[in-house]
Symmetry: C2
Subunit: 409 residues, 2 copies
DNA sequence: AGGCACCCTCAAAACGTTTTAAGCAGAAAC
DNA sequence: GTTTCTGCTTAAAACGTTTTGAGGGTGCCT
């Protein structure tokens, strides 16, 4: 009856007390006092499952009974079916080895007792894991969300579960999480490395855990596999698009070249001008931001609007969609119209790019495919089939909407 | 040079260019001359394990060996330190029982051999799991992303890993995933149920896996815990806001009352009118959508713009932000201004609500806190400490931005 | 009848860890 | 001098599964 009323400000930095990060003891998954519901005809008391709890009364939590009173395992199933545990295991894993009559008998026992395999025992003995890790930089980032979907889907098709970990851009947390993955003995991991330091990943490799690096094309091919998108190509496409529309001066909004991806997008833009016979130094402006978010994009409007020659900027290429949206918002507040007054190109093709007015022209990355490909490369490594490392580079694609138009005055 | 480029964005089946760097022919496993540590160790030959073509029959699960022949385990550590395995285990789990001298000796051995605990053995014996499940309706949904962050963070503090599963709104997949969680013997699970049918969850409970339902307030409190946000309250707040601005007629955009949350938002809106002494039937219009996305929101503009009395609609409350954005886009295309011509209120406070122009007035939900709370309730259940089921209901909060203004004509 | 080749089934031995209960000193109490 | 106690250590027994090699049938071929 105790309803928590909680109203938080929009402050995402967490006003909740940050507790210590000391790991607490792990949880007990043991038997919780509930009996199974399927009655078996040949056992004596058809025990009608008792109510799980009485109104709001704490569950009769068994203290530390790791071996609950006969939690149904392979042995119980075997007994019930009148065969040996080995046979049950065979029905589960290599059914073709078991005679049809026996097989159905066992399967009946399984469903009658509502048996579910214990993956700890299974994995321990067989040395095979049924889960893979996914270590991302920021769970919240919509880019990763799509990638995660691809990975999850591909993994699900192989019956693998995905263990999600968040490094929150912190090397320290990345390290801790990789260790966790090693302990869990995951079959493999898809990792967005937090920095260029591969030491931790090599450690993981030595622990026998395969991995694939995501969105980081600079992993040496004799060290590990990687899947990424060609950022330079994306910048190039954006530049060519603006040039085709008659623009001759473009501002790149979003410096912060510590981030490889951003630098390459900028280089691609310059390359477009180069190819067109225009000197990039002269025709491409650069405005740097402290962070690549919408707020910074909006704040930068005045700085962007007049270029170094004092001319009015007519085309802007933003390092990502958030910046582009923020920038457009800033323009809107000043009564400037997109694309009539300024053409804007973004990067990422977030789903919102198509929701806003005007629709945002942007460079799309095959996020979902990226995830699937990563998982596929991982699978290949795990099978040991095509066990060579591979570097897979996807091409981005320019999506034209309504935020860009031909230069006119 | 062949750049993948352009084509309109509305084609979802577009093929992505894909360049694959030439794969290295020779199979190269593990080490790459980048060894660290590892002083003393009987160097067995590099054991090129042959691929086990299992009777030519592909195993049902994609799998991987997690334990090589000489993988360092607790036994190797014990030998190295000159103690028994039991002592090593004690150092790991109950260090206070071990004499200081022994303890450091063991710890040295551990780091010297670079030992990492095998969670399969550990969990199997102890009956304690180190992971929890998170079953969501749609990994891609930004709402879940924030929730996931809260859960992941809270779990990490307990040293728990989060297993992410996606039911993609399919009962069939939900079922399969819950089964997977049971097999993995997770300590507990946070679940967004796909429908009102609790049967599968009760099955999970019988399997000894605790769970907490997310964003579904209608779970009976003697059946399980739940964490949700008061949708009716959100609708009420939106309604009151519009009333305070002088609006007397509001259209609710986004029917589809099969979805409980949506129905409650609508009811909240009507309640606001009721409280203000205005008959909801007369002052609240309802427009239903097949799906709650931006595209449908945009398409509905013409239908919304004139209400049933033939008057021009001046205020719209949308079931979520995506619809609101789509609707605003539609207005923009028709040259109508927000908020001068129409006031718009959304729901969810997606991060983009603050990026667009004009900023979207919307109802915010404490997503991150929701996730944390869910995990906390789960922990409580798992500890068996405050093991009673609990229903926690958070209050939403209206975030006023620039998409609403006082009614004037 | 004997030999052989199948096809099934199962006992028993792992897998790596935790936990229990026993053992063994040395110190303290009688 | 015995007993009790206290503080560490450990042998051995689990945990639930897979895997191996052996054994028991059956039927087919000489």
């Amino acid at each position: 009856m105790d309803h928590a009323r909680s109203i938080q400000g929009s402050d995402p930095s967490g006003t909740w007390g940050e507790a210590t990060a000391e790991p607490r003891p792990p949880r007990d998954f043991g038997y919780n006092g509930l009996r199974r519901f399927k009655p078996s005809e040949d056992t004596a008391p058809a025990d009608t499952s008792p109510a799980p709890t009485q109104h709001g009364v704490p569950l009769p939590k068994s203290t530390n009974r790791t071996s609950g009173p006969n939690r149904t395992g392979i042995t119980q199933v075997a007994a019930h079916a009148g065969v040996s545990p080995a046979t049950v295991s065979n029905v589960l894993n290599r059914p073709e080895l078991v005679a049809e009559a026996t097989r159905t008998k066992v399967q009946e026992a399984i469903s009658e007792l509502d048996y579910v395999r214990n993956s700890f025992g299974s994995s321990l003995r067989s040395g095979r894991s049924t889960s893979v890790g996914l270590l991302v930089l920021d769970v919240t980032n919509p880019f990763f969300a799509e990638v995660a979907r691809g990975i999850e889907e591909e993994a699900a098709e192989s019956g693998l579960a995905v263990v999600l970990l968040n490094s929150a851009e912190s090397p320290e947390r990345q390290r801790r999480n990789l260790r966790l993955l090693a302990e869990q003995r995951v079959a493999g991991a898809v990792v967005m490395p937090v920095d260029n330091d591969l030491a931790d990943l090599l450690w993981l490799q030595r622990q026998g855990v395969h991995w694939v690096a995501l969105d980081r094309g600079d992993v040496p091919e004799d060290v590990g596999s990687s899947v990424s998108v060609d950022n330079r190509e994306g910048g190039l496409a954006a530049g060519q698009h603006l040039l085709a529309l008659g623009h001759r001066r473009v501002t790149f909004l979003g410096g912060a070249f510590a981030i490889e991806q951003v630098r390459l997008r900028y280089e691609g833009l310059r390359a477009a001008f180069d190819e067109a016979g225009l000197d990039p130094d002269e025709h491409v402006e650069l405005v740097s931001l402290a962070q690549l978010n919408a707020h910074q994009g909006e704040r930068a409007v005045d700085q962007v609007l007049l270029d170094s020659t004092g001319r009015r900027t007519r085309a802007v290429f933003c390092a990502n969609d958030q910046i582009a949206l923020g920038f457009m918002k800033g323009l809107g507040k000043r009564g400037l119209r997109v694309p009539e007054d300024v053409s804007v190109v973004g990067y990422d093709d977030l789903s919102v790019a198509d929701m806003v007015h005007p629709g945002l022209t942007t460079v799309a990355q095959p996020k979902y495919e990226l995830g699937r490909a990563a998982m596929q490369l991982l699978s290949a490594q795990m099978d040991g089939s095509g066990a060579a490392y591979e570097r897979k580079i996807f091409q981005p694609r320019l999506v034209m909407r309504d935020s860009t138009s031909a230069l006119r005055d």
